[in-house]
Amino acid sequence: MASRGIRDRVAIVGMGCTPFGELWDKSVDDLLTDATVECVDSAGISLDDVDAFWLGTMGSGLSGLTLSRPLKIDYKPVTHVENFCATGSEAYRNACYAVASGAYDLAMAVGMEKLKDSGYSGLTGIRQVGDGTLAGLSSPAAFSFLVPAYAHKYGVDPDELKSVLTRIAWKNHRNGAVNPRAQFRKEVSTEKIASSPLVAGELGVFDCSGVSDGAAAVVVCRAEDAHRYTDTPLYVKGLSLVAGPAAGIIDPDYDYTSFEEVVRSAADAYHQAGITDPRAQLAMAEVHDCFTPTELVLMEDLGFAERGTAWKEVLAGTFDRDGELPVNPDGGLKSFGHPIGASGLRMLFECWLQLRRQAPPERQIAGVGEGGRTLGLTHNLGGGPGECVSFVGVVGSQLSD
């Protein structure tokens, strides 16, 4: 038994992505309609051509009807999936398998979330009261555990580490400032980031991703059919999703400086995609920067930096848009906010633009494409340190040899 992957058997031939933000005038139905229409238009097809749908949303609707009702889908399979903050990627992963299996010719994955109607600050969970003993810690608090643990393990001065986290936020806002789809389209000074009011632990407001509404969609087909729809498809190289045993929450050996689920899903995805040196081989990565220390730790878990060194690489600009390996060139969750079901597909949308050199010139990553790097990575994490699900996907603009 093994994870074999479906490298180069599935192609992405169309995508859509709404602007993300506090979309007071957009309903769930509006978001779904906007994303899917843009998606089918980009593939030059109509919604009728799609044979099966996967809808990812964590809390903005239940069942396939959430999609079929507004789009008037004609008696076709629509599957609702949920996998915490990896929900959008999970919809995409399942759609890929549907076409790879031969069961369908064209499948669509849609990710969507409408968060701002709740009126609350930050993310709120669904009802899970039970015996009432679950700790009521917020998400930023759960991720803030990483900060003292990382500083302690690697002997990083807390003030220095704060400046590392600040630089991550600064970089992602800088990238988002030139992205018209982002929720926040302004650069933010490091002084403002570092002095923002504390939310949890060392995390200030600017260390946290925003709360927003948004949707994104992708349509996939078998790789051999890709050129019926586009001259510039992307090929699915690797798809890995793991749910851990929630070991870190109960295991005293866990030290809060890594996500084992990410390490495992990255190894699986790299194996599927034939990647041996991600830092050298990837053209870009979209990672789950829900909080700044998450991105820091991910750089090590995804193999972009040696253990205990990511903080130096951040300061050196390695992951800037013009750095050695651009990370979150679209601005990340930091600039887009995090409409849960949509984020994974929003990341894929950036690969769709960048790897095909369709990003506007002011933010197109240099050296991507012919003769250069052709692979992009997306990563989602749902849950928190010690207990999470992790998705790592790799796409590329070229078929492998």
């Binding site: 009126g119 609350y120 600050s121 930050g122 709120t124 009802r127 009261v129 039970g130 015996d131 009432g132 003993t133 700790a135 009521g136 810690l137 917020s138 930023p140 608090a141 759960a142 803030s144 555990f145 003292p148 643990a149 302690h152 504390l198 939310v199 949890a200 632990g201 045993p245 070991a247 929450i249 109960i250 295991d251 005293p252 866990y254 030290d255 809060y256 010690g386």
Partner: protein, 486 residues
């Protein structure tokens, strides 16, 4: 060997309110000193559970077969509160648990009943009080919160009853209609006129009953919410002032129903064998009991020292007095503070609470008998060796731990933000991520030593959600309280 008290435990909350903080808020002069304040996550049930834990956390104390709980401020009516304390103490289902709630006088009855029960089988009395009063009033500034527990057993008693007496009097001096947050009082001098003669009668009768005279009294404890009458009796009863036990009201306030018991515990901690102790309580009349300490007291005092028990006098010295008055008012429900823009917590589910009683109320983990790995909360499948259904329960409520990492959560819903979260590694194995309480966020670091404490997380739809939190060990407590992992 005689029947009687074999152990006791006193719990005073971490917080103190400076009385001058009240005066500052109202622009008036106030008395000096501090009062003990139950935290936002404490009620009379949790205070009582903590006192009970302290009484049981000494080597050689028998497991109580009956538990009697008394408080004038019960967390629930209709539903028994003693069963919650029973569960928090991890007592066996065969042990009874009963409320005797009502007035301060109920506490006296609880002690008498438990003493009687203790002649036949180990029995525990838990007495708890949380004194509130309207803002700016004497009740608020002079009251105090705390709890005391006594274990009585057929053998090994540290004090035997020599005599007792009551002087019952039906008169309207202090009263409260159910649901009100403060009691009302008649004119102060009226109470004094009634109480002082009643107390003198009870005191005299009890001594006579015991065949003793006032000169035989080594320790006198006078308790009661009527400060004027109590003060008068302490001065004028005829017992020399150096034999009148301190009441600590200036430092912790008047603990109401728990005051007499705390006074007795203090005397037992300081006393020596063969001494005569009189406890006199003023509550709708007066009750007096005459005790003589036995030779067993020395060994019990030694066991308590070995267990690291903190005595009443030292507990009074502890506490943190920088509680802002507005926060105190919020905790007591007198000030409605703007809530965070987060969903309110929902009530827990009764069937789930019952299924998980050992975990929720007793902080009982599961240990894999195949490999020894400890799981919090308990699970059926072992994380370490994947053995299925090879678990045994392991109570970690009384085991200490160390902070592995921590955070200050300013976003999470809390009745008193910010919430402090921590990952705790227990001595001997087991990791838990939860909430801290009684904590200065600035003082937490990786390596901070903690103990568990039973708290009320919140109340939703009239359901009190009880569970455990971690709190930093108080100074000097590290030597004590052996693990009772069971």
């Amino acid at each position: 060997m005689s029947a009687g008290i074999v152990s006791w435990g006193v719990y005073l909350p971490y917080w103190r309110l400076e009385r001058t903080a009240i005066g500052a808020a109202f622009g008036t002069a106030t008395a000096k000193g501090t009062r003990a304040v139950a935290s936002y996550d404490e009620d009379t049930t949790t205070l009582g559970a903590e006192a009970g834990r302290r009484a049981l956390d000494v080597a050689g104390v028998p497991v109580p077969e009956d538990l009697f709980f008394s408080t004038p401020a019960p967390a629930y009516l209709d539903k028994t509160n003693a069963t919650t304390i029973h569960a928090a103490l991890g007592l066996p289902p065969g042990a009874g648990a009963y409320d005797l709630c009502g007035s301060v006088r109920s506490a006296w009855a609880t002690m008498s009943l438990t003493a009687l029960s203790g002649e036949r089988r180990p029995s525990m009395a838990v007495i708890s009080d949380l004194r509130t009063g309207l803002p700016g009033g004497a009740e608020e500034s002079q009251g105090g919160d705390g709890a005391v527990a006594f274990v009585f057993a057929p053998e090994g008693g540290v004090a035997e009853v020599m005599g007792h007496a009551s002087a019952t009097d039906e008169f309207l001096e202090r009263w409260r209609v159910p649901g009100e947050t403060a009691s009302r009082q008649w004119e102060d001098r009226f109470g004094e006129e009634v109480y002082v003669p009643a107390a003198r009668a009870a005191f005299t009768d009890a001594l006579q009953n015991a065949g003793l005279t006032i000169d035989d009294v080594d320790h006198l404890v006078v308790a009661g919410l009527h400060a004027r009458a109590v003060g008068s009796l302490r001065r004028a009863l005829g017992v020399p002032s150096d034999r009148v036990a301190p009441d600590y009201v200036a430092r912790i306030g008047n603990l109401g129903a728990a005051q007499a018991g705390v006074g007795l515990a203090d005397v037992l901690e300081r006393g020596s064998p063969g001494q005569v102790v009189v406890v006199l309580e003023l509550a709708d009349g007066a009750d007096a009991v005459v005790l003589r300490t036995t030779a067993a007291l020395v060994a019990v005092q030694e066991e308590r020292r070995k267990a690291g028990s903190i005595g009443v006098a030292a507990l009074v010295d502890q506490g943190r007095a920088d509680l802002p008055y507005a926060v105190f008012l919020t905790w007591r429900g007198h000030l409605r503070r703007e809530p965070p823009r987060r969903p309110e917590p929902e009530r827990p589910d009764a069937p789930a609470m019952r299924r998980n009683e050992g975990w929720k109320f007793g902080f009982s983990a599961s240990r894999c008998v195949a490999c020894g790995f400890v799981h919090l909360p308990p699970t059926r499948v072992c994380l370490s060796c994947r053995a299925v259904d090879r678990m045994e329960p392991l109570r970690l409520a009384d085991v200490r731990g160390t902070v592995a990492t921590y955070t200050v959560d300013r976003l999470a819903f809390s009745l008193s933000p910010p919430m402090v979260g921590a990952v705790i590694d227990f001595d001997g194995g087991g990791r838990y991520r939860g909430e801290m309480t009684d904590v200065d966020p600035e003082a937490v670091s990786i390596g901070t030593r903690v103990e568990m404490t039973f708290r009320r997380l919140y109340t939703a739809e009239g359901v009190h959600n009880y569970f455990w939190k971690a709190r930093p060990l108080s100074d000097g407590a590290e030597t004590g309280r052996g693990r009772r992992a069971s």
